[in-house]
Symmetry: C2
């Protein structure tokens, strides 16, 4: 699945619907953004969507470079932050594109973190019933998770990502050089998803991450390249198997059922990575309690995660957490479903990829880990 890209990168292919797309991973790839767009996308105009922070750091210069190369590129910005991932921002960006006369011969280019890849992805998915998108992730989270697999969406007051669409990108360009501009806290939070890939699919990769945490946080070129490639390979393998999350893809939600509920119950005071890390430990403990996981799995996972994140466990209202669990997207008949580990690197699939778990057992695992009020 992996192949060399010139001298300085790798390419992972992802199958989506009838077609497939490439995830290019390498240090400095964006130096040739115009050439990559030109060779991978059939479009006459480019709408480059980015948040205001990333615009100043990277995107203004990238758009300028595209123009110099003769591409018709227009910059569209929105205020940085999860608060922008709304139907309102989506409407505004869509209207700005319509005002500027973009037709179906347009390609959206999303430059940014997970908020941008999700929001711009939903704009592209619904603009004139869908135009191509090139994802240019600039955070760990977006490189190893959000930009691969075609999920797009926005948040509503009922929860995160409850409105959206599947819309596979035409190309993903992961230039690991941009990670050096990422704040340290976002590096830690984003790498939680890499730990998740290891926990559910590849124990040796989890061990590699634990051994190299400091190098990853310092954005060591060679270690980062290995980690991003392996995470993308693992995720690509899953979404190629089950693009629309009918079954197997649900394993990627490990830690997220509880994580999303914790995030929402904290009114998003808890970072996404911290919430998912806690969620993984809670869900691992649920697996232990049900006798699904082998002995010590939850403890070993907790120890691995502690090398990345120090605990951030402000008291949460348990009743609100349970309320959000019942409203989870993947709930069936009002009950959340859980991915359970058999051991580190392996998910239990005894009765399907997700499990129905008695509420009392989830509550018990939550109470044992997190100060509740």
């Amino acid at each position: 699945m992996r192949e060399a890209v010139e001298s300085h990168g790798a390419s992972v292919r992802v199958r989506a619907g009838a077609g497939e797309y490439s995830v290019l991973i390498g240090h400095g790839l964006l130096a040739d953004l115009p050439g990559l767009l030109d060779s991978h996308v059939d479009a006459n105009r480019f709408a480059v969507i980015t948040d205001e922070n990333v615009a100043a750091l990277h995107t203004e210069a990238l758009v300028e470079k595209c123009r110099e190369a003769g591409l018709d590129a227009t910059l569209l910005t929105f205020p940085a932050g999860e608060a922008s991932k709304t139907r309102k921002s989506w409407s505004i960006l869509t209207d700005e594109m319509l005002d500027a006369g973009f037709g179906r011969d347009t390609c959206v280019v999303a430059v940014g973190g997970g908020v941008t890849t999700d929001l711009a992805g939903f704009v592209a998915a619904t603009y004139m019933r869908g135009v191509p998108i090139v994802q240019v992730p600039t955070s760990y989270l977006a490189m190893i998770d959000a930009s691969v697999g075609g999920k797009t969406g926005v948040d509503v007051r009922h929860g995160k990502n409850l409105v959206g669409a599947f819309h596979a990108p035409a190309l993903v360009i992961a230039d690991t050089a941009v990670l050096t501009t990422l704040p340290a806290v976002q590096r830690r939070q984003g790498l939680v998803e890499a730990f998740k890939h290891g926990a559910i699919l590849d124990r040796a990769y989890l061990d590699f991450l634990v051994s190299n945490v400091e190098a990853l946080l310092a954005v060591d070129r060679s270690v980062v390249q290995q980690a991003v490639v392996r995470s993308v390979e693992l995720k690509a393998g899953v979404v190629t198997e089950d693009e629309l999350e009918a079954g197997y893809r649900q394993i990627l939600n490990f830690g997220h059922t509880v994580g999303h509920a914790l995030e929402a119950a904290s009114d998003f005071a808890l970072g996404h990575g911290s919430a998912v890390a806690l969620g993984m430990v809670v869900e691992a403990r649920v697996g232990a309690r049900l006798g699904v996981s082998s002995d010590g799995t939850a403890e070993r996972l907790e120890a691995a995660l502690s090398t990345l994140l120090s605990p951030e466990r402000g008291p949460v209202d348990l009743e609100r957490v349970v309320g959000f669990l019942g409203a989870d997207k993947k709930a069936r008949g009002g009950r959340a479903r859980y991915v359970l580990l058999r051991q580190l690197g392996e998910v239990d699939s005894g009765t399907g990829w997700t499990h129905d778990v008695p509420e009392a057992i989830v509550t018990e695992a939550l109470e044992g880990l997190i100060p509740t009020r």
Copy 2:
């Protein structure tokens, strides 16, 4: 492609992505709506979306019938009319579903005309990144056009259907008995799309429609069955070939490039069917002027359409029409593209399915047909 459904209908299969779906056509099919839902859809709950007029005519009784059969069905309504086909209505319906706790195990059932199938389709396409939809068209337009092919969308101030998605239905149930409740003007307007199917694909079918206009308007059971089945077969053949409108499907836009622009320039005073009928004649004349169509094609099409609709040609502002043409979804580099007839029943494909036409020739054809101001 066609097969018998019990004793009283036909079934046309449509391929979409990796799967396919059935369009059931018959008089009185809705008497067994609960059974059809149960046998065709894997869902625990049903969100039935309909406009307030159709609710009173049909949908309240249908929901009651589903409940009596043990299905968990909830009615959601919106104000009737094209003015409801907006992002705002889409948001409200989505939020009502979230308030009611609908999860991903939900199926949307759309009961109504083209506005409902498009609007509810967009709700289903984007609810938790997509839930299945069953289309229950209640108008000619929706039966033969809007409910087949998976196009969904809403209007924005820049034009119609500019925001939307492709979302294939799980099932389409075309119960021709409900056409008797359709106002006469909507019967005429909706049948224009059937004439279009004949004009681009099947001259014999066009002749059949002309010979049976009065029976179609009177909703004669046997003639209506034949026409709906033939139109659905023709449309299904096209969208099976090219679901996402990459090429061949564009032939279904015959008459619509000019039609949509006329509709918009009249501020929607001109009915959709009337606008498309005029658009077909204008585009047929463009074909004649360019020497693409055989002699008499435009005149024969105009004569055929005159059996259905009397001319409705209020003066339009030519400059506004031309402005809307440039903003067409399928425009390339700001220029609209045109489907041209070779002869009745056949589209020209000499240089692709659509043609770039000098603006002066379109303007000339418009001026020759429509009083401009």
